[in-house]
Every structure is written in structure tokens, then in C-alpha cells.
């Protein structure tokens, strides 16, 4: 039980841990990945919110997945830092502090950069995974993504999540 608590703390650590945002070699601010992701994920795919797909829960799940290596998990976290640093450099504000129009402008600008395109693509692939996941994973309880595309899942459905 103690170990489980410790494990849960570490898992939760991804979304609640602090990312240090630098600007011109100085610490500008600190932000938790959760603060950025909670807005960024729906900026990238607002339909997930309408479909009641819990993207935040999926990103937490990814952080504890046995088949996603540590480098990938670090990359997800580092990307949050880079996006915020870009926001600070252009607008002198953190990503979540920007109005929607400015956030979209920033995403457009970031997507033209090699690191930005790669990172946004990665986020989108995880968003798609969440949107079309089986309800057993707990993030897409109504198969909303599948219904949206009139997609018929194969049977049988999984009896347990593979983590």
C-alpha cells in the first residue's frame, strides 16, 4: 500500500511537477505541465472536449505506461517548457495566460519550426489515441470518437487495460 501511494505520487508528479521557464538566460516563471496541457490539448483538438474525452487523464496514463520509454516521457515534459518559452519570448506571458487568438498564432508559428512541428505532432498522436481508445482506459467512456466517425470497433472489446 505504501508503495502504491509512492507510485501514485510519482505518477501525479508529471502533471503537477514544476517546469522552469527561461527567458534570455534568466528564470521567467514556473508552470506545471497540467496548467499548460489543460488548455493546449483542447486548442489542438477542441472536439475532444465536446466528446467528453478526458485528455488530461490520458496524459497521466501515458506517464505510467510500461511501454513508453523514459525519453519519451521527458520529451513530453520538455515540450511544455519549450512552448512556454516561445510564448514568453513572443508575448512575455505563459501559454495559458494568452487569449485564444494569440495561442493559435503561437501554435502556427511553432508548427513552422522543426522542434515545434515534431512536438505538436506527438501531442496530436496521443490525443488521437485518447479520442479513439477503448472505454477500458477510462478516458473515452462513451466511445464518442468512434461514434463521430461511424466507426465500428472489432469484437471482443478488451477486458483489461494494457498498461
Amino acid at each position: 500500500m505504501v508503495q502504491n501511494k509512492r507510485r501514485n505520487f510519482l505518477i501525479a508528479g508529471f502533471v503537477t511537477s514544476v517546469v522552469v521557464v527561461m527567458n534570455s538566460g534568466r528564470i521567467f516563471s514556473q508552470v506545471t505541465p497540467d496548467t499548460t496541457l489543460s488548455i493546449l490539448q483542447y486548442d489542438l483538438f477542441p472536439q475532444a472536449k465536446e466528446m467528453d474525452v478526458n485528455l488530461a487523464a490520458y496524459f497521466t496514463l501515458i506517464q505510467r505506461h510500461s511501454r513508453i520509454d523514459e525519453d519519451e516521457k521527458k520529451y513530453l515534459k520538455n515540450g511544455i517548457k519549450w512552448i512556454n518559452e516561445e510564448a514568453v519570448e513572443v508575448h512575455e506571458a505563459l501559454y495559458h495566460e494568452l487569449p485564444e487568438s494569440k495561442r493559435q498564432e503561437l501554435l502556427q508559428s511553432i508548427s513552422q519550426k522543426e522542434w515545434g512541428e515534431s512536438y505538436l505532432y506527438t501531442l496530436l498522436t496521443y490525443i488521437m489515441e485518447a479520442t479513439f481508445s477503448d472505454p477500458i482506459y477510462g478516458v473515452n467512456p462513451k466511445r464518442s470518437g468512434q461514434q463521430w466517425l461511424a466507426f465500428e470497433n472489432g469484437l471482443p472489446y478488451p477486458k483489461e487495460a494494457y498498461l
Binding site: 486548442d43 489542438l44 483538438f45 477542441p46 472536439q47 505506461h65 510500461s66 511501454r67 513508453i68 520509454d69 493559435q104 501554435l107 508548427s111 512541428e117 505538436l120 505532432y121 496530436l124 498522436t125 488521437m128 489515441e129 479520442t131 479513439f132 481508445s133 477503448d134 477500458i136 482506459y137 470518437g145 468512434q146 463521430w148 466517425l149 461511424a150 466507426f151 465500428e152 470497433n153 472489432g154 469484437l155 471482443p156 472489446y157 478488451p158 477486458k159 487495460a161 494494457y162
Partner: protein
């Protein structure tokens, strides 16, 4: 306890032998590295099966070293642990046959005599097989009946001789778009071949018929209709199966293998003694085990007095292509046919199994046609960019996804042609790099012959023309020298000459009295078809040879 036969690996190469010998009353044990999954354990969970590779080893634990050769002779080294490049197919009882699509084509008579039929090709180590199509035909036939193959025989210029007039099981049901395909073939004077499948179309052999789940290839079968080695053979015989048993060494004296050593999942070592050992861990891992079993009698690797162990690794050459059918160009009836899910496409062409370009006769190959895999996450991920190559998100992405996936569908094709064996395509072990068991990992040297690309392109162009004739748009193809990990063979060539081959014509090691290798590693050339049917057939053939030995 001394078993009559110990089989290492439980896939298509090992299971026919387990089935035949245990049913003949012999004491057979099968050692399998993976878990024992059964029908009730399988689901169509794309995240688990296709995105997180639940049936293959974690690459942080088990991986390969891959050296990719360039035409200059230089190579780039990749560690599978870091690059993610791997050659695992499926680690479970029944092996990768659990996850196959089961497109079953026999090799043709000329495939057994590639060198005699088509001549020498510079830079390629092409040889004839020591057996003929006639030697293997009774076993192809046996596979149809015992494993279960469904289809319909149609006459065409490369139809191989058959001892049975028809397949024992009727064709699986097909999607209405196959009629468009058949019509286009007729207009182009091609013979449309209903692709034979190792999938039961009805309840038979103690198994359920196909329930058209829409998710066949890459997934385990929940009805047992798919003729995987576990469902069709291991569950129908009395062979003892020990799962989660990783064989890391074979012990031998100068003439015989005496013991197999394996680790269980807790890394506790065990030994098995048997009169006869059969190795069938797939080409790369079988070769790896023989190298890792070197001893004072065989200092260069077990059964390697010829120095040929690991040489002439081959794959299926070719590639794939696709075309998209869009609602705007279809009638309402056609739209409905296009979006009909669950049913198979199951069409092939072998019009160019060999062909003449005016200068010389070429060995060609097979083209299988099938709908784009239904994996929804993979399909939406392919739509993340627009036609100009810009990443999409937000409303623009949503609109694209909805239109593409609800008003169009992609028909794909796969080209299978010979991967010519060459000096720089082989398997070794990297003594300095070890897996989680502390065992040196397999090192795969990759090289392809330019001839493979030339033939593959010829076939792909023909397939693309057919898709256009059917009315597809955005027709494209990709023929490359990238090796498909699920279509691997060679490394333990069989042959008459013990100085130039590892195995004799019965797939027994030249060097040892009681070691057989029964996966695809025996193959000197691979034919221009997927390998599984040939692996099954050859394993049934070897079973008869071993049976004769055990009875004497």
C-alpha cells in the same frame, strides 16, 4: 526424464512436428519464450496490440543490433534499444502465426529451381533447393486439410499443380468492391485470383468459423478460425508446452545435442534432455541460439562446421501501394458497398510471376489486394497533415478526419517478390551487447540487391494501373529495400553439400545426428509469396523424417 523430442519455438515451424509426433505417441515437449494466450485472451484493443506492441518483447529488455549496409559497403549501426527498430513478430505460444493475416500462397515449381530457371545474377547467392515442388506438394495439401485453408481454385498460367482439385473450405465472404476489381481485371485481361486464406469459413476441425471481426491481421483470433499454430495444432495434440521458457543454450558433444538450457520468467535455469531436438525460433533467433551454443566441438557456433551459419538471410522484397475511392465519384450503391466493413477483400494477381522485358526473363511475384487496415488510430494519424504537408489541428483537422474517414476508403496492395540472398545480409551475435538474460543479442546485417527493387517496381506499376482502372484516385506506391520483419527466412540454408550449407535436405544439421531446424531459416530462396504455408508444409515433411528415425 528424457523426452523423445524437444522443440524450441512453438510457431508454424515447430507446431506441425509437435502435432505429428505427439499424435503418433511420442513424448514431445515444446519450449516457448512467450506467454500462453488462448482465444478468450484476445481482443481488438488497438492501443495494446498495435500501438504498444503487447505481444513483442520490451525493447529495453530484448533487442537486436542492426547494421544497415549501403551500396558503398559502408554501414550504419542501430541498436534496437535506442532506435526502436526491431525484428520481433510475436512472442507467444503459436508464435507470429497467431497474428498473421493468413494470405496463403504456395511456392511455384520454378521457385525451387531459381538458379536453373532464371540463371545467375551477379552479386546474388542464388541456388536451387535440394527438393522439388513435387516433394513438398503432399504437405501443402496436408496443410489445407489440417490447418484449414479456404478459397477457390481458378485456372491461370502460374497455377501450381495440385493433388486436390479444390480447397477443403469454401471462400470467405467478400466485400462488394471485389466485383469492381474483378470487372477491371476482365477488362485488362488479367485473372483475378480469390486469395486463399488460412481462415476457416465455417465451423470445422473443432474450431469456430470466421466471425468477420474486421480486425484479422496483427490481431489474435477470438474464434480460432485463423489457422495459427496454437489454435490449429498445439491445442489439438498432447505435446507438453512450457511457456515463458527462454532457451539460451544447447549443449552438445561431437555428434549430438544433449541438453537444452532455458530460463523461466524468474530467470531460474532449467534443462531438458531429449533424443531429438528441433529448433524453430524464427530465422534470426534460431541462428542466434546456435551461435550462442558454441563449444569445444563447435567453436564457431553449433552446427557451423561449414561456416555458413547465419549467411544468406532473406526477406520478402517488394513494397506496397494504395488508391482512394471517394464518394464524389461513386453511385449510392457503390458508396454503400465501399463502406461495408467486416468482409474481406481477398484478391490477388500472379499475372507477372515471371515476365520478359524483351531482353531477359525475370522472376516476378505476387500482388495481394486488401483494404487499408481498420485500425482507427493509425488511420486518423495518417490524416494529420494536409495535401501541402502542413500539420493540421483544431477545426481544420476535425473536418479532414470526418470527410476522409466517412466518405472515402483506401484499397491497398502488397507486392511480394524474391529478396536475393547476398554476402552482406546475414545474422551474427554481438558478443559485447547482452539482453536482460545476459545473453549476447542477435546482430542483423542488412543488404539488398538492386534487382529486387527493379522487379518490385515492375509489379507495383501494374497494380497501380489496375487501381486507376477501378476508379481510385491518389494512387501511389512505395517499393523499397526496407526488410519486412514478419517475412524473414534463411540463415541455416539446407543443401546437399555439407561444406556449403548448414542443414541437409531433411533439415537435419549436417554436423549433428539429432538436431533439426524447422522454421524458415532453411530456405535458400523465398519464392515470391508469403512464407507461412511453405513453413507449415516443410515442417510436416520434416515430421515424417523424424518419425521414421524414431521408429527405427
Amino acid at each position: 526424464m528424457i523426452y523423445d523430442v524437444c522443440i524450441i519455438g512453438s510457431g508454424a515451424g515447430g507446431s506441425p512436428i509437435a502435432y505429428e509426433l505427439s499424435n503418433a505417441g511420442f513424448n514431445v515437449v515444446v519450449l516457448e519464450k512467450g506467454k500462453y494466450y488462448k482465444e478468450e485472451d484476445f481482443s481488438k484493443d488497438e492501443l495494446a496490440v498495435s500501438r504498444r506492441d503487447m505481444f513483442t518483447p520490451n525493447l529495453q529488455d530484448e533487442f537486436h543490433i542492426i547494421n544497415e549496409y549501403k551500396p558503398s559497403g559502408n554501414f550504419t549501426r542501430y541498436s534496437g534499444k535506442e532506435s526502436g527498430w526491431n525484428f520481433w513478430n510475436s512472442s507467444m505460444v503459436g508464435g507470429s502465426s497467431n497474428l498473421m493475416s493468413g494470405y496463403f500462397h504456395r511456392m511455384k515449381p520454378n521457385d525451387f529451381q531459381l538458379r536453373s530457371s532464371y540463371g545467375e545474377i551477379q552479386g546474388a547467392n542464388v541456388v536451387d533447393w535440394p527438393i522439388s515442388y513435387e516433394d513438398l506438394e503432399p504437405y501443402y495439401d496436408k496443410v489445407e486439410r489440417v490447418v484449414g485453408v479456404s478459397g477457390r481454385v481458378v485456372e491461370h498460367k502460374y497455377q501450381e499443380p495440385r493433388s486436390s482439385k479444390e480447397f477443403p473450405y469454401k471462400m470467405l465472404e467478400v466485400n462488394g468492391v471485389t466485383e469492381w476489381f474483378d470487372k477491371a481485371c476482365e477488362e485488362m485481361d488479367y485473372v483475378s485470383i480469390p486469395t486463399p486464406r488460412a481462415v476457416l469459413s465455417e465451423d470445422a476441425l473443432g474450431r469456430k468459423g470466421c466471425y468477420y471481426s474486421n480486425f484479422c491481421g496483427s490481431y489474435g483470433c477470438s474464434s480460432g478460425a485463423k489457422g495459427g499454430a496454437r489454435a490449429a495444432l498445439l491445442q489439438r495434440c498432447k505435446a507438453e508446452v512450457i511457456s515463458e521458457a527462454f532457451v539460451y543454450r544447447l549443449e552438445s558433444d561431437a555428434t549430438k545435442v544433449t541438453k537444452a538450457y532455458y530460463y523461466d520468467k524468474a530467470k531460474k535455469s532449467h534443462t531438458i534432455e531429449a533424443k531429438i531436438f528441433v529448433l524453430s525460433a524464427q530465422a534470426i533467433e534460431s541462428v542466434r541460439l546456435l551461435f550462442n551454443s558454441k563449444n569445444t566441438h563447435f567453436p564457431n557456433g553449433l552446427a557451423n562446421s561449414s561456416g555458413e551459419l547465419g549467411n544468406n538471410l532473406i526477406f520478402s522484397a517488394g513494397g506496397s501501394g494504395s488508391g482512394r475511392f471517394v464518394f464524389e465519384k461513386l453511385t449510392q450503391k457503390q458508396q454503400k458497398e465501399l463502406m461495408q466493413v467486416g468482409l474481406f477483400f481477398n484478391r490477388s494477381l500472379q499475372e507477372w510471376y515471371d515476365y520478359d522485358d524483351g531482353c531477359r526473363n525475370y522472376k516476378g511475384g505476387t500482388i495481394d489486394f486488401l483494404f487499408e487496415h481498420q485500425n482507427i488510430i493509425s488511420r486518423v494519424n495518417r490524416e494529420l497533415y494536409d495535401e501541402e504537408g502542413n500539420l493540421l489541428w483544431g477545426q481544420a483537422l476535425a473536418e479532414r478526419l470526418h470527410k476522409r474517414l466517412t466518405t472515402s476508403r483506401v484499397l491497398t496492395f502488397e507486392v511480394f517478390n524474391d529478396w536475393l540472398p547476398t554476402d552482406n545480409c546475414n545474422v551474427r551475435v554481438d558478443e559485447k551487447t547482452k539482453d536482460k538474460w545476459g545473453v549476447p543479442v542477435g546482430m542483423i546485417n542488412l543488404n539488398s540487391h538492386p534487382h529486387d527493387l527493379e522487379v518490385g517496381k515492375h509489379l507495383a506499376i501494374k497494380a497501380a494501373e489496375l487501381l486507376k482502372k477501378m476508379g481510385a484516385i491518389k494512387v501511389e506506391y512505395s517499393i523499397s529495400s526496407a526488410p519486412p520483419p514478419n517475412l524473414v527466412a534463411g540463415g541455416c540454408r539446407f543443401g546437399e553439400d555439407a561444406t556449403k550449407s548448414v542443414l541437409d535436405k531433411n533439415c537435419k544439421a549436417h554436423d549433428l545426428k539429432n538436431l533439426y531446424v524447422s522454421d524458415a531459416s532453411f530456405m535458400p530462396t523465398g519464392g515470391s509469396v508469403p512464407y507461412t504455408w511453405t513453413i507449415y508444409a516443410n515442417s510436416f515433411r520434416i515430421a515424417q523424417k523424424i518419425l521414421a528415425t524414431l521408429k527405427t
